[in-house]
């Protein structure tokens, strides 16, 4: 059975040699006839541990890091595909204290999946809101947003809830609409205009 190995592809990890690590994982797996499925995930955000390599085991994802390309053969020898011991082994990723103490909302999926994979996104609950919205009438969608009480950042909205911000009102598909960033934080800082020809 093929083992899933995660090597991040985000900019910070790449700047620390993640590309070479990924290449080394593939080359070593081939040389040792160890079936590996390489997944290029995003970073968990533990940048000081990048490149952070994870292996999927029955117990969960086990992290190793920071890993250099030169260390990859030794990791295979140590049995990292079964999550075995190695000086760079950090244990279950979810149990790393820095990560465990966090409650992630908007970033909940970061580092878990390949951000370019639509099937991965759907498997983690992606598009569910969109699917439901497509079954609702426009007014019902605005109502839903109002009831949810969502607030964007104060700066972007002057503290007003999403639902009363102008772009959500009276949306007509007939006219192209554009959202323009205004300058004054006290005045309405986002405006919807209905011009297609103005030059920014």
């Amino acid at each position: 059975m093929s083992v899933r190995v995660y090597v991040p592809q985000d900019a910070a990890a790449l700047s620390l040699g993640a590309e070479a690590v990924a290449r080394a994982v593939v080359a070593t797996a081939e040389a040792r006839h160890a079936p590996v499925t390489l997944v290029r995930n995003g970073s968990r955000g533990l940048i000081w541990l990048e490149p952070l390599v994870e292996v999927e085991t029955p117990a969960g994802r086990i992290a190793y890091g920071p890993v250099s390309a030169e260390e990859v053969p030794a990791l295979f020898t140590a049995g990292f595909l079964e999550g075995k011991a190695h000086p760079k082994r950090l244990g279950l990723t979810e149990e790393i204290p820095y990560l465990k103490k966090q409650e992630r909302l908007t970033f909940a999926r970061v580092g878990l999946i390949d951000p370019f994979s639509v099937p991965d996104y759907i498997a983690h609950g992606g598009f569910r809101g969109l699917e439901r919205a497509l079954t609702l009438a426009p007014a019902a969608i605005v109502q839903e947003v109002t009831e949810a009480g969502l607030r964007p950042s104060r700066r972007a909205s002057s503290g007003r809830p999403c639902s009363i911000r102008r772009p959500t009102r009276n949306m007509s598909p007939a006219t192209p609409m554009r959202v323009i960033r205004g300058r004054s934080p006290t005045a309405c800082s986002w405006r919807a205009t209905r011009s297609a020809s103005s030059r920014a």
Binding site: A11, A12, S15
Partner: protein
């Protein structure tokens, strides 16, 4: 007297204009395209761009000179950007910057006499957690020590 554009340069500027002219606020897009194609913004391109976008030459000149990313002359074969912003400075980027000048034998904003390397300062590559950061030909490197810098330069200096 401003140097006239070569036919190839004129074509590149025209292509950039054609692609982006209809968009709102096209100036930066056009400049990016011209620099991507030619490696720099030839001074002779400024009147052409101004005319096509209905801007004054002063406006275009102002934008080209405001963003230090835009070059006025062709770069070396490799463009080495060393970050000198706050986070990188806190992690020793000034020492790395001096090292880079010594290693390449040029000051910032100069190109080596053999045309191989241009050395540019940059103010934040967004890689602050891995300071100090360096970008070479668009590729990002983090936690760059003088030794790593030399290795990166050696790889590129030895190619023919």
């Amino acid at each position: 007297m401003m140097q006239a554009l070569t036919p190839a340069q004129r074509d590149a500027v025209r292509r950039g204009l054609l692609r982006h002219k209809a968009r709102p606020g096209p100036l930066l897009e056009v400049l990016h395209e011209v620099q991507a194609e030619l490696g720099h913004i030839p001074p002779g391109a400024i009147p052409l761009i101004a005319d096509e976008l209905n801007l004054s030459r002063a406006e275009v000149h102002g934008v080209v000179t405001f963003y230090h990313y835009f070059r006025h002359s062709p770069p070396g074969r490799h463009v080495v950007r060393v970050c000198r912003a706050e986070s990188c400075q806190a992690m020793g980027a000034e020492a790395l910057a001096s090292h880079a000048e010594r290693r390449l034998g040029v000051r910032f904003d100069q190109t080596t006499p053999d045309g191989r390397f241009s050395l540019d300062p940059v103010y934040c590559l967004g890689n602050c957690a891995c300071s100090p950061a360096v970008m070479i030909d668009g590729e990002l490197f983090g936690r760059v020590t003088p030794e790593r810098f030399d290795a990166l330069i050696d790889e590129r200096a030895s190619e023919t």
